[in-house]
Amino acid sequence: MSRDPSDRGQDERYVDAAPYDPGASLRELERKDLDAPNRVLVWRKFKTHRLGLISGAFLLFCYLMLPFVGFVAPYGPNDRDAEHIYSPPQGVKLFHEGRFLGPFIYPMTSEADLETFQWVVKPDYDTPRQLRFFCEGSQYRLAGLIPADTHLVCAPEGATLFLWGSDRLGRDIFSRILFGAQLSLTVGLIGITVSFVLGIFFGSVAGYFGGKIDWVINRAIEILRSLPELPLWLALSAAVPSNWSPVAVFFIISIILGILDWPGLARSVRAKFLSLREEEYVRAAEMMGASSGRVIRKHLLPNFMSHLIASAALSIPAMILGETALSFLGLGLRAPAVSWGVMLNDAQNLANIEIYPWTAIPMLPIIVVVLAFNFLGDGLRDSLDPYQQ
């Protein structure tokens, strides 16, 4: 077979004209790569899952920011500005009439429209006001502990800074979304912890011991899985006494969300246990006198902990959406607590959304976070089996 002369290198040897792809070596793992610890392998494969990686970084950023939202948000979650009710979003601009001013906004003036009987809030384009940075504003607690009143950015003197508009009480939607994230994002974490503990406990007991226990747990799983979640969530949260403090309500709601989620997890744990308990190393551990608890914890669970983590990432969105739905219907978190669902409660009717579309903005972070968790979970699941090409 004759080759094109251009393929030949200086010493007449064949050189492939195709460009060298450094990423290719990642996919063709060599023997020494395969012997690396599992987490190295998983990480290496996860890195190639672009969407999962970005989502993971984004979520990490969101969660790390939670303790510091008071600093980032220009206002407190319940600061009202009676002068600027339903103020539309204000854009931050840099140039005023061709002149560079640094970040500034046009102050909003509100006046009553006597024909429609609405407050019309309009920007005043003549007097640009510069934003203040690292300024003093309303009190908040850093990480819930350290009292502070320094904000990253504040409204100019005598003007407002409603980046995403204000709601029916004149509260800043942007700040409320940041504070709402504290509850909306942690609800999923607490819920998944509850569901994890219950799911692993019941699943491993059923799978490891088998027999009657297995039968009973399996029936319970089947029954719980066949019931629609939302009506049960509603019924359970309707039972929460209305005089409880917001913090207590928050915890009980997250637990309620977790209580109904465990059967799915328990089922997959059980299936794994059924197949793994026949392995020789389990027999060996038992013969050396390890207790059932030790065999389950030290020998069996580590086998598929990573799978469980991936499935956890995939079930957190359901809990975030659940909290949103409950609060939206008025049976979940209640004001003065701030969560994305509570905020959307304002956007309940069509007329509101039509006239003040920005009250529906809290749906954006919900969609983005839920999508991110889905992508992260998908990426984790795909990379958990590093030997699979």
């Binding site: 979640e229 009506p231 749906m363």
Partner: protein, 342 residues
């Protein structure tokens, strides 16, 4: 006849499950401290209306609310004689709604079959959308079609149902002239069935069906796609292509049949989610299903009403799951009839 025996066996287990569910439901509706009547009595006492107290006390005795809980449960189910002999769920007496001061069956009335209708429409929608899209996404995997379908699917999963409902309603009304709110035009409410009424219901069904079905359809589509991709890599597909079968015919005839199984089996997962969705969407859109009734009853601790609605919702999903199990056996002869002994 084997199949008939299996169907009867499956029906039996469903009844048993329903019994357990009734215990669960009864516990849940009794969770809030106090009940509607004792709250009312306390309120009447506080405002000094002794006449009303007597009536409420009478109702309490009438519905055996003064008995211990376990007796209340059996009386509610109709398994023990109450003040009026055997009269409970089993006998078709669903109890009394204290808030509306009418029997529960009168209040739920029409909304029962409307609930069934909405959910049926949503299930149909899921199948009609997910089947072609899933197959298409698998057959054209790693092309624009696949990515677009995946993107829409992800959005469907991530958008909260109630928001989608609001948005679609708004745009549907503005650009397509779809009606807002309710399941039929107001003039048909309480009217006997007629063609106009059916038409009105069908038009009103469009948006709710779409909203309730989207998340289910996207989940179903992704699963079908994954199943199809697994099948498409197998040698028999290669053989079929090699002998010159047209791709569309090949897809329909072999891989789809195999990939179809989980599709039917999945209805057990799909239905609970769907019913949940329909409750939420009904509240937002003001559909006359039992969703708003449930919410109202839960908020005012109207326990017999909420208990009945919860039972009905559970029954709906249980029946659906049962049907899918029986269908699955019909569809796939490899499935064993007996329950698995592990």
């Amino acid at each position: 006849m084997e199949i008939l025996r299996y169907a009867i066996y499956r029906f039996g287990t469903m009844l048993l499950t329903l019994l357990l569910v009734s215990v669960l439901v009864f516990c849940i509706i009794n969770l809030p401290p106090g009940d509607f009547l004792s709250n009312q009595i306390a309120e009447l006492r506080a405002t000094g209306q002794e006449a009303g107290v007597a009536k409420a006390e009478f109702l309490r005795r009438e519905y055996a609310l003064d008995k211990p809980l376990w007796q209340q449960y059996f009386i509610w189910m109709g398994l023990l004689p109450g003040p009026h002999g055997f009269s409970g769920m089993v006998q078709g007496n669903f109890g009394w709604s204290f808030e509306f001061d009418r029997p529960v069956s009168e209040i739920v009335g029409d909304s029962l079959w409307l609930t069934v209708l909405v959910n049926l429409a949503a299930v149909l929608f899921v199948y009609l959308v997910a089947l072609p899209l899933g197959v298409l996404a698998a057959a054209k995997s790693r092309t624009m079609i696949d990515y677009t379908a995946a993107f829409i699917g992800y959005l469907g999963l991530a958008t909260p149902n109630f928001l989608l409902a609001l948005i679609l309603f708004y745009y549907g009304h503005q650009y397509l002239g779809l009606p807002i709110g309710g399941l039929m035009a107001p003039e048909y409410e309480g009217e006997p069935m007629s063609w106009e009424k059916v038409r009105s219901i069908l038009i009103h069904l469009i948006v709710p069906t779409f909203v309730i079905g989207t998340s289910g359809a996207s989940a179903m589509m992704q699963r079908l796609r994954a199943n199809m991709l697994d099948e498409l890599g197998k040698p028999y597909v290669e053989t079929a292509v090699a002998k010159g079968m047209r791709p569309s015919r090949m897809l329909m005839k072999y891989p789809l049949r195999v990939a179809f199984n989980p599709f039917v089996a999945d209805i057990g997962n799909l239905l609970p989610a769907m019913v949940s969705g329909s409750v939420l969407v009904s509240v937002v859109l003001g559909l006359q299903t039992i969703g708003p009734v449930l919410l109202q009853a839960l908020k005012s601790q109207d326990m017999f009403l909420s208990g009945f609605v919860l039972m009905f919702v559970a029954l709906l999903t249980l029946i659906g799951t049962m049907i899918s199990d029986v269908l699955l056996v019909l569809l796939d002869p490899r499935i064993r009839y007996e329950s698995r002994d592990t």
